[in-house]
Each structure stands twice: as C-alpha cells, then as structure tokens.
Point group: C2
Chain length 224, copies 2
C-alpha cells in the first residue's frame, strides 16, 4: 500500500523487515522454481516462515514478486546466448547455447512459464526476448554459413525447440529431470546437414516402469 518498492526509498527498511524481505525472495525463488508461478503467495509465506501479511506488505501482488525474481534469470538466458555467439566454433556455440538455455528452462519451472506464456511481467520479458532474437539469428545463420546446420532451419525454430525440451523436462521432473537431454541430442543430430554417426545419449533411457510414475506424478491441471 505504502510503497511499490521503488528504486529510491527515502527511508531504509528496519533491520528485521529487510531480513524478512530477503527471506521472502529466497522462498519465492524456491517455490516458483519448483512448483511454477501458480504457487500461491500463501505458499511462499509458509516457505519463508512469515505471515502472508508480511509478504503482501512488501510486494503488492504476485506479479511484482515474480518480476523482481526473474529479471536476472532472463538476463542469464541472454548471457548464455551471447556466450554461444562468442564461441569461435559456430556449431559448438549453437549446441552449447541450446544445452545451457535448455538447462536454465528445464530446472526452473517459473522461468519457463514467465517466458513461454503471457501474463506476468510482459514488458521485461519482451525486452529480454528482443535482446535475444538477433543473437539467436546470428547463431543459427553463422552455423548455416559454415555448412554445419541444415540451411532451412529458421531462427524462430529455436524457441520452439527450447519449449519442447523444457516441456519434456517438466513432464518427467519427478522421476528423471534430465531425460530431456536425450531429446536435445536427437534434435541436434537432426539439425546437421549430414552426418556419419550419432552423438551418444548423455543419459540413460527411462525404464518402462518409470513411465507410470511420470504419469502419476503429473496430475491433471486441477484436481477432479
């Protein structure tokens, strides 16, 4: 009500209040990362060990908290793309980017949701994406120029690929959160114009019994 956690606060928070603010941010990171943005602020409060009121006094609503949290993660994604472009080997740069960006998305459900779905913090997300787009275009174009990647792969395919892989990761998160690396391998081998052998899968397949657990661990959107 009083403030919007604006940049220049005339008066600093009391020591205990600041401590709680940090606790809330840490708890929110934990909760949003593992359970996604649909987690309630009550959940965050419980995880932080403070009352809900305390959460609402610091952050007017969930969006404000989410934005505060994910700003730097989006920055990390952009950095990953730029690092890929800095790699002198065009193929290696692209693959590394795909794997690292995939890892960020696969291990952070909240980040995935904020990036892939409209709703929260559109402005910041939009800005992050605007920064990524040219880098991705360059990454793909450079590898194509080198003949390392099939010529008809489009830059817009990359977000879809990341989306699919992170969907697989989320789907299997309770049982084998790394299984998506197999499908990254498949996609990467599929992107080459031609090849002699295969890139070995970095992780083993899921055993048949595992499939049941995956499904059971993934209840329908809301409880029936």
């Amino acid at each position: 009500m009083t403030d919007l956690t604006g940049p220049a606060d005339p008066r600093p928070l009391r020591a205990d209040a600041e401590r709680n603010r940090q606790r809330i941010l840490r708890a929110a990171a934990e909760v949003f990362t593992t359970r996604g943005l649909q987690a309630s602020l009550d959940d965050v409060a419980r995880q932080a060990g403070v009352g809900v009121g305390t959460v609402y006094r610091r952050f007017p609503d969930k969006e404000a908290l989410a934005e505060a949290l994910f700003e730097d993660r989006i920055g990390a994604l952009v950095a990953v793309a730029e690092r890929g472009l800095a790699n002198p080997d065009s193929w290696d740069g692209l693959v590394t980017f795909l794997r690292e960006a995939g890892t960020l998305l696969a291990t952070d459900r909240g980040l995935r949701e904020i990036l892939m779905f409209a709703g929260y913090g559109k402005d910041r997300v939009e800005r992050g994406k605007a920064r990524m787009q040219p880098v991705i275009t360059a990454l793909v174009g450079r590898a194509q120029q080198d003949g390392k990647v099939r010529a008809d792969l489009a830059p817009t395919d990359i977000p879809f690929i990341e989306f699919m892989l992170s969907a697989a990761a989320e789907y299997a998160s309770d049982v084998r959160p790394d299984i998506w690396l197999r499908y990254l391998t498949l996609v990467i081998d599929g992107m080459r114009p031609a090849r002699d052998g295969v890139t070995p899968f970095p992780v083993p397949a899921l055993a048949p019994e595992g499939m049941l657990k995956v499904m059971r661990g993934m209840p329908a959107r809301r409880s029936p």
Copy 2:
C-alpha cells in the same frame, strides 16, 4: 461421427432425450478437443444448446463423459501403431506411426491430456497403453535390427517424443497448428544412425511476428 450408445438399457430414452444425448456428445467432442479437459460441463452444455441439468442427468460427471468420448480415440491410436508394424518397411512404418500418432495428439487437446496426465479414465487409458507398448517396442526394435535407427533409442523415448511434439502443437495452435511437423522432421533425422542429406521440412517456419502471437494466444495457467 461415431455413435456411442451405452450398454442396452432396459428402457430406451425418450426420443428428445436421445437427441439431446447425441448433441451433448457432439458438443463435448468439439469442446474437449479444442479447449482440453479443463473445459467445464457448463461450456459443453452451452455448446450443445441444452441446460447443465440435462448434461448431468445423462453423465454423472465429467469423467464419465470424457471416458465415453475418448474410448475410440485411444483405439485409433492403437490402430495407428499396429498399422505401422504392418508396414513391410521398418523405417517407413516407424516414421508413419510417429507422424500419424502425432497428428492425432496434435489435433485433439483432450486426447493429449487424457493420455499424458493422470486424472481421468485411468483404467481405459491404462489398457490402451498396455496394448500399445509391445507394438511400439516391436516397431523400434525392428527398425534397429535393420540398422535404420540408432541402436540406443529406447521404446520409452517414443511417448516422450510424442509428448514434446504435441506440446509444440498445442503451444502454436492458434497461429500455426502444423508447425510441430518441422520438429518431427528434425527428430526423425536425428534418429537415423547416419545420413547423407536432410528430410525437407513439410511446412514453412513461423515468421518472427508469429512468435508474438503464439505467446499472446497462450495465457498463463490462471489469470492474475
């Protein structure tokens, strides 16, 4: 549209009631395929042009309606797998299966949800999957024996691949519901032990402007 008459009732429905029952089933098919299982029975009633009470009189709850509806779709999936195995060419059989099963899942959001997530009609779904599993194992195994598919691909990878592709289809459904075929192409090329060229993409890439529409059309899980 298939008729889904239940078991022989001692006394048949009145003519108008039977007509409404069919209307409800048709409406439910429409609503569940496009909006998924989270659509409410009120939605179904509206689409059918009947009152909610009428829906609930015929189907005790959403699960009963969903089960009645999806029984034959699951059958269609099994049939697709069996048809793939009947194909004399092991590679062609596998690829055709992947594409056709993908199409079923990509065009039917409700089917995707009932198959991929626990919740509704577990028994029937379970039975359908039990029938598919050996067929898929055979499809993959046969193609591997022929040296057409990388040897370390596991049968359990297939459901994941279908899941990922249908996730992409759902994500882009408002803008380019066929875009997933590009990623199927990529995955298929990635499955080969080696290859000279690439399978051409059957559909064009999404233009950059399209990405924005995709995101906007995909609102967050719940509104803030």
